[in-house]
């Protein structure tokens, strides 16, 4: 066994054990903690499997935002699960056994793990993404090149899904609470703890600068719009948790959130229309700088990453504020 395989097996074992423990845990707070742990293990596995960009996103989303959302909802509802009746277990087990059998049976046709000669790796598109992109797009991080240039239309679709999910949360939970609507005393904040206040004040600028760095460094290292967006949102979440919802909404008013959400999406779409008006196809950045396609690509990718970052951060912050408002005005 190589070092890689040994580490891989250990981490996969930890992952599986955590998943099983989550299934057994009836206290939902504890299950949420284990879900955060699961996300940490997942991110280490992403690093091990060379997916550094994905690990980045998982770090901010899994441990930061989704844990906070789950904990917030548990505070609003009930945090203890009823015993699962025997009657319900059987159909679940049946489906699991059937699906598991089908998956394992089908997996025999999959290429061996890590094989360099699998159909996917031999497909011409692999060469195109990894090597030809260096001439066509000219940025070292091929994940960013594929995300923001080759498959930019795909990414636009994903961004629209995030946007729609933000709208859905708002329409289900209602508008954000205005300060006069919050119950007195409900908006408990941690700013009275000097240690937390001071450390948060120290960390917040770092988080925001780091998000900007991740946004603009995404062409050369792990990073990009999605990652920067969720890091920004994590900063907003931390501020809201420590200084309270009212202060957070004074700093980031809801009209600004709306503005950013729409601005990002419009920038993305507008860039596509602009490339069409300049004579190219939708989101073909080559035409942005005639004669120097690489400059055009750089400019296009940067603008698209900024658009993604703006919309994602604003949607995530909006979602957090909606849940927090629900708690404060109940």
């Amino acid at each position: 066994m190589t070092t890689f395989a040994l580490i891989n097996v250990t981490l996969l074992g930890i992952l599986l054990a955590t998943a099983l423990a989550i299934a057994r845990m009836r206290a939902l707070y504890e299950a949420t903690m284990l879900a955060a742990l699961l996300s940490l293990v997942t991110a280490t596995l992403f690093v091990l499997l060379d997916a550094v960009d994905v690990a980045f996103t998982e770090a901010a989303v899994g441990v930061g935002i989704s844990t906070v959302l789950l904990l917030g909802v548990l505070a609003l509802t009930r945090s203890w699960e009823a015993v699962t009746s025997q009657r319900r277990r059987l159909p679940g087990l049946l489906v699991v056994v059937l699906a598991g059998g089908a998956l394992v049976y089908a997996s025999q046709d999959l290429p061996a793990f890590g094989a360099a000669d699998s159909p996917v790796q031999l497909h011409p598109v692999t060469d195109a993404y990894l090597y030809e992109s260096q001439d066509e797009v000219g940025i070292p991080n091929t994940v960013t090149a594929v995300l923001a240039s080759y498959r930019a239309l795909d990414t636009l679709g994903e961004l629209v899904v995030v946007f729609t999910a933000g709208l859905a949360v708002l329409s289900v939970l209602g508008p954000l609470a205005r300060p006069e609507q919050t119950r007195p005393g409900a908006d408990f904040h941690l700013a009275d703890y000097r240690v937390i206040r001071v450390i948060t004040r120290l960390l917040l600028p770092f988080i925001l600068v780091f998000a900007l760095y991740v946004l603009f460094h995404g062409e050369y290292g792990p990073g990009g719009g999605f990652q920067a967006g969720v890091i920004f949102a994590t900063g907003a979440v931390l501020y809201g948790l420590v200084f309270g919802l009212d202060r957070a909404q004074q700093v980031i008013p809801s009209w600004a959130l709306w503005l950013f959400i729409c601005l990002g999406l419009l920038l993305y779409l507008g860039l596509g229309v602009a490339t069409m008006l300049l004579g190219g196809s939708f989101l073909d950045y080559d035409v942005l700088s005639p004669g120097h396609p690489e400059t055009g690509q750089h400019l296009g990718i940067l603008l698209v990453e900024m658009a993604i970052g703006t919309t994602v951060s604003a949607v995530m912050a909006m979602i957090f504020f909606s849940f927090a408002s629900r708690g404060a005005s109940r």
Partner: protein, 93 residues
């Protein structure tokens, strides 16, 4: 020596995992998650050196920042619960 550090990190992760399973109560578990989080930071750093590309340490920086947010969230919401509603179930602290 890097191999030894990696082995130590994995062993510690398993130990923290055991504490996260055993509990008891949410505080022991959040403690285990906190411990696991810092081990993740170190894992990312050490794995970079082990597999020859130490330039991806940005992820480690992010983890150091995000773990803190998670802990603050837990603290905020345990206090918050006390203010909002009585706890229906017995705490097994």
């Amino acid at each position: 020596m890097i191999f030894a550090v990696m082995a130590a990190l994995l062993v510690t992760m398993v130990l923290a995992l055991a504490r996260a399973f055993l509990g008891p109560g949410r505080y022991n578990r959040i403690l285990a998650v906190n411990m696991f989080g810092t081990k993740t930071v170190l894992f990312v750093a050490v794995a970079g050196f082990l597999f020859g590309r130490p330039e991806f340490l940005d992820i480690g920086i992010l983890y150091a920042l995000v773990n803190f947010t998670a802990i603050v969230a837990v603290l905020r919401l345990t206090h918050y619960r006390e203010l909002v509603s009585a706890r229906p179930e017995a705490e097994r602290g």
